[in-house]
Symmetry: C2
Subunit: 273 residues, 2 copies
């Protein structure tokens, strides 16, 4: 294909008239995170960009709503890229991308957005869900999608603690310290709901966190800290001290990646064409 008009080295054959937004689900266990790293490690971004390059016969670089670490799953990740008029999404795009992608990544939806749309910068709220299976019986169908803790957790105490994390706070204690330097650590958490659920016959506790944006490891550290309260090692009031100290070591552990799913992103309605 070298030298041909459809060479994959050409990036500039889009007229920038609109943007394609893809909603993705993936099994984080199968990838080294979302973002492209070294060529030898398989990432979700690599897989989706390769499928797009094959389908559109050009190089494509996507922007995502939120980078996910190795092991973290997605149900509603959104990626965007500039597209030309001839590339307008249709049913065939969805079908062919799903045919080209490895098992482990699925395109759920392809939409057209207005010129200049960015999956990252236009996001209004992001929702993450974290599953915990508590008690002596390990998860089976959920084993790749939940954190198993042997103690039965006090969900009421966890809810009390979670209420102290809602609205705007400086979340420096909940952030991987190296990544917060020189950047603001104030974030707005709109809600944290903690619910009992049963799926595939297995009971679990789900922590649902909605906010505008999140620091690196913030949700997993929140869950690790709420776990301290649920396991009875700390009172709910402990959260106030953690927030005030602005020290990562004051918070609980970073809960394992496999329990976390990037669930949903909300955009203003007027971005869609």
């Amino acid at each position: 294909m070298s030298g041909s008009a459809r060479s994959v080295t050409s990036v500039d054959n889009t007229d920038g008239r609109f943007v394609i937004a893809l909603t993705l689900a993936y099994n984080g266990a199968l990838f080294h995170g979302f973002a492209t790293q070294r060529r030898t490690l398989s990432t979700v971004q690599d897989r989706i960009e390769a499928a797009l390059a094959t389908r559109l016969s050009r190089k494509v670089e996507v922007v995502c709503a939120g980078r996910t670490d190795a092991g973290v799953h997605a149900r509603g990740q959104v990626v965007s890229f500039n597209a030309s008029e001839s590339e307008r999404p249709n049913a065939s795009l969805l079908r062919s991308l799903n045919g080209l992608l490895d098992p482990g990544v699925v395109v759920l939806e392809a939409r057209s957005a207005r010129r200049g749309f960015s999956a990252r910068f236009d996001a209004m709220t992001r929702e993450y869900r974290y599953r915990i299976v508590d008690g002596p019986i390990p998860p089976l169908a959920l084993s790749d999608f939940a954190w198993h803790v042997r103690k039965n957790l006090d969900v009421e105490a966890m809810r009390e603690a979670a209420a102290l994390l809602v609205v705007e706070h400086d979340f420096k204690s909940f952030c991987r310290s190296s990544s917060a330097e020189g950047r603001g650590t104030v974030r707005r958490v709109d809600s944290i709901d903690i619910v009992h659920r049963v799926e595939l016959g297995e009971a679990y506790i789900e922590v649902r966190v909605v906010g505008n944006a999140f620091l690196h490891n913030m949700v997993r550290t929140m869950v690790g800290t709420l776990y301290e309260v649920g396991a009875g090692r700390r009172d709910p009031e402990y959260i106030r001290g953690v927030l005030a100290l602005r020290l990562r070591d004051s918070a609980g552990q970073t809960a394992p990646a496999k329990g976390l799913t990037f669930w949903h992103v909300d955009y203003p309605e007027d971005v869609w064409l």
Copy 2:
């Protein structure tokens, strides 16, 4: 341990006073079916009997409520074995068995049943559930636990067809032909419910079949036959002909093992101690 009083070669140190019944869940993808076959193939029965042998320091042979083929999952399989008074189940039995078992098999419950109880012969009804993800988007978290069919299925037509399979029929057409020779093929199906569900964020169709006992491959062949109706290739009335013909070839395909889960077994209340 050879020659010791706790040698695993001794089978007869139970006084037969009572029976232990274990409820098991397993991921069928990881085993060559339930029943012990050749030593080189890993089966659920091998794993559970090995764990019991280690825990009870004797050889144990279990009876199961229903053999499952390679790839078929269980949420409520029940196995039973004779036990001595000193082996009465307690929380420690459950914990230690789950510690000894491979990932992929979990003991959900351990109960004491009266003398002579058999997980197989005392079962009143058995329930199987079959998951189908229909449409162009493949399942992700459910990929090991559902059959993916690209056509959108007409669930209303499938319900009409399923109603014709309920109550007592000769199910010879739904049975792997080799295994039905010389044995009766009349079975009682109490109910078939077909419902839309969403679990782990993924939509699917679930076929729930309850009956007293099932022929080999009967549920999977029922699902493969209902699929013919759901996909619009056959009218619901086609089921009448399939039943009447008593020929395996008149029915649909055997639906894939991975969609099937042995869900629940009902026993009379008075068997439990």
